[in-house]
């Protein structure tokens, strides 16, 4: 005998758990960025390749999960968050994944070697961007607690504070970008010096700096999106 229990059928598959899992997958790629930048610093080709592979590995997994979430989100679902808002959040998480992948792909364009004098600054920028994404992941992880408390009370306040921290981290990351670019381009203006950086190195390093800044901004946009959902 087939029995469809109405109570059991009433509970649709929650998309929030998988969405949090998606963010964790993306973040598992992000946390490996500092190691990649370190490898780029030493220009150890095999080390770079293994770091690239490690970053790329979770990305298709995350994409598959995102596709699954979209496929299993019937319009008949009644959720504490608007369906469109959830899809938008997923979109923003996927952008972080794309951004990370783009960074991992940079060394594919040309054998890459980072200017030695900028190592520390670049590594700091990478760590800063990674920390920003980590904060965004922590915020996404709070969604089940928000649902438990109905998006109100001390829990909501806590998440608000977390979003403020996220914005601060993103701002700090962003502030490092122009300074780093300046340090990168200064030797060129000083044309009399013969040891200007090779063109490709200059280009790719600049791309790396900009991509790291963009990554932090993408992370901040997750906070921007969640904030009005709490305030509603």
């Amino acid at each position: 005998m087939k029995t469809t229990n109405p109570i059991a059928a009433l509970f649709g598959r929650s998309p929030f758990g998988p969405t949090q899992e998606h963010m964790r997958l993306v973040q598992s790629a992000v946390v490996q960025l500092p190691a990649l930048v370190e490898a780029l610093g030493t220009a150890d080709a095999s080390d770079i390749t293994s770091r690239q592979d490690a970053i790329r590995a979770p990305v298709p997994q995350a994409s598959a999960l995102a596709r699954e979430i979209r496929l299993h989100l019937p319009r008949s679902l009644f959720m504490p968050v608007d369906r469109r808002d959830l899809l938008e959040l997923l979109d923003r998480q996927e952008w972080i994944g794309r951004e990370v992948r783009a960074i991992a792909d940079l060394p594919l364009q040309h054998a890459m070697r980072l200017p030695t004098e900028l190592h520390t600054a670049l590594l700091n920028l990478t760590r800063s961007a990674t920390a920003t994404c980590q904060q965004a992941t922590a915020i996404v992880d709070e969604i089940d607690e928000l649902i438990e408390t109905g998006f109100r009370g001390p829990e909501a306040t806590r998440v608000e504070t977390m979003i403020q921290t996220l914005d601060r981290l993103a701002g700090e990351t962003d502030a490092q970008v122009p300074a780093l670019a300046r340090d990168l381009f200064t030797p060129i203006d000083d044309a009399s010096q013969g040891d200007a950086l090779p063109h490709a190195t200059l280009q790719l390093t600049h791309q790396l700096v900009r991509a790291l800044g963009a990554l932090a901004n993408r992370a901040a946009r997750i906070g921007d999106h969640l904030l009005p959902l709490i305030a509603r």
Partner: protein
């Protein structure tokens, strides 16, 4: 009259067989819906749910099942129109039981979420209109019953919403949710015992010859509530703070406090279900029995024999033990979104509304009220994803069940009439 005296014992046996069949079906299928919110939250195991259901369904049927039984037995059909032809009532009630039973079997085999209450009410109206005439039905009672089918799930939803909001306010959104949960938990358990016993006992229990004044019922309910609250406190005190689980989910320990509390709502829900749904099986049976025992008089005011209530309770328990066990196991897999706080709110609200309906004699659908209560919790932005298709299915099953029960009952009615006359 001769038909009654000639075939009396045959009718009696048929009534008992069909009545038991119907209550068996309720125990086999319907109880699982009533226990769904308790088992689904993982607060109690299937085994515990069976045990709780067996005891509390029986008590509910026996203690508070009288009023709804009265409605099903006497409230829907105008007995005046039957004078001189008591056999028509006998055919009709037997036909209704058979029709509702058959329809429920067809529907559950196909997995439709049908209500036993809707089936039996549809069947009784169907035979009355087809066999006696439009005037034979107390349409105002039907109006009340149908209105209660719409209002009761809404009421369940509203009550669940309020309970959930109060739990949020007092516990989840407080400074120290775990401490608050331990402080307020026994109060909520008190509330479970108090509401259910107050509603059931209010102004006494007619068929048990228990007559209480308002004050007496209030005192009795408060004493009962305090006893349950005390037992709740003992169970709640054993819950320890689980810091490791709290790191993954900040409210894990709070939810653990609500787990033993769900035992009480599960009992309340089983009691409520017994008090309302047993009537679907024994109401028609009681009508037949009273016609036969009075030798053909369609007595409007006959006492409800207690052995019939007992029989209904036994039918449910047997259904539970033979098939209900398996049906319940299908929902035994934990519904992760139904946490103990949410399950507690929904089950307490549903139980309270069902008991209230039982006291007013209105046959309502326990399943639909439970669905309404879960929706109420969802409305507080408290559940990740509710599939609204279930609501659509319920509305469709409504629209199909009433006419299906009616047509089947009319057909069986003519079959009986043709066979015995």
């Amino acid at each position: 009259m001769e038909i009654i005296t000639e075939w009396g014992s045959v009718f009696l046996i048929l009534a008992i067989v069909f009545g038991l069949y119907m209550t068996w079906g309720i125990g086999a299928n319907d109880v699982a819906n009533a226990m769904g919110t308790s088992v689904g939250s993982g607060a109690i195991t299937v085994r515990q749910a069976i045990l709780i259901a067996a005891i509390c369904e029986f008590i509910g049927a026996f203690v508070a099942g009288g009023d709804v039984t009265e409605t099903i037995r006497n409230g829907i059909i105008d007995a005046e129109t039957l004078n001189g032809q008591p056999e028509l009532l006998v055919y009709g009630m037997l036909a209704s039981l058979l029709a509702a039973g058959v329809w429920l079997m067809i529907a559950s085999a196909r997995g439709w979420p049908v209500s036993t209450t809707h089936s039996i009410v549809g069947a009784i109206v169907g035979f009355a209109v087809a066999g006696i005439g439009l005037h034979a039905v107390h349409w105002e009672t039907i109006g009340q019953i149908v209105a209660s089918w719409v209002i009761s799930p809404l009421l369940g939803g509203l009550a669940a919403l309020l309970i959930m909001l109060s739990i949020r306010h007092l516990i989840l959104n407080a400074e120290n949710p775990f401490r608050q949960a331990k402080r307020w938990g026994p109060v909520y358990v008190f509330l479970v015992g108090w509401i259910v016993s107050l509603v059931s006992l209010f102004k006494g229990l007619k068929h048990l010859d228990l007559h209480l004044t308002t004050t007496e019922s209030l005192i009795a309910a408060t004493v009962f509530g305090l006893v349950t609250g005390l037992i709740g406190k003992v169970l709640i005190n054993r819950v320890k703070l689980d810091e490791k689980a709290d790191r993954a989910f900040h409210f894990a320990s709070v939810e653990k406090v609500f787990t033993p509390m769900m035992i009480f709502t599960a009992c309340a829900m089983a009691f409520a279900h017994g008090s309302n749904d047993v009537a679907n099986g024994i109401g028609p049976m009681a009508a037949v029995v009273s016609v036969i025992q009075s030798g053909g008089a369609v007595a409007q005011k006959a006492q409800l024999p207690l052995w019939i209530l007992l029989l209904g309770g036994i039918g449910i328990v047997v259904g539970l033990a033979t098939l209900g066990y398996r049906v319940m196991q299908t929902i035994g897999t934990k519904i992760t979104e139904l946490t103990p706080t949410r399950g507690f709110s929904a089950t307490l609200a549903a139980a309270a509304v069902v008991v209230l309906a039982s006291k007013t004699g209105l046959p309502v659908s326990t399943t639909h009220i439970a669905v309404g209560a879960v929706m109420g919790v969802g409305l507080s932005r408290g559940i990740a994803a509710l599939d609204l298709r279930v609501i659509g299915n319920i509305v469709v099953s409504w629209l199909i069940t009433l006419p299906a029960g009616a047509v089947l009952a009319a057909a069986f009615f003519y079959l009986f009439k043709f066979s015995f006359s």
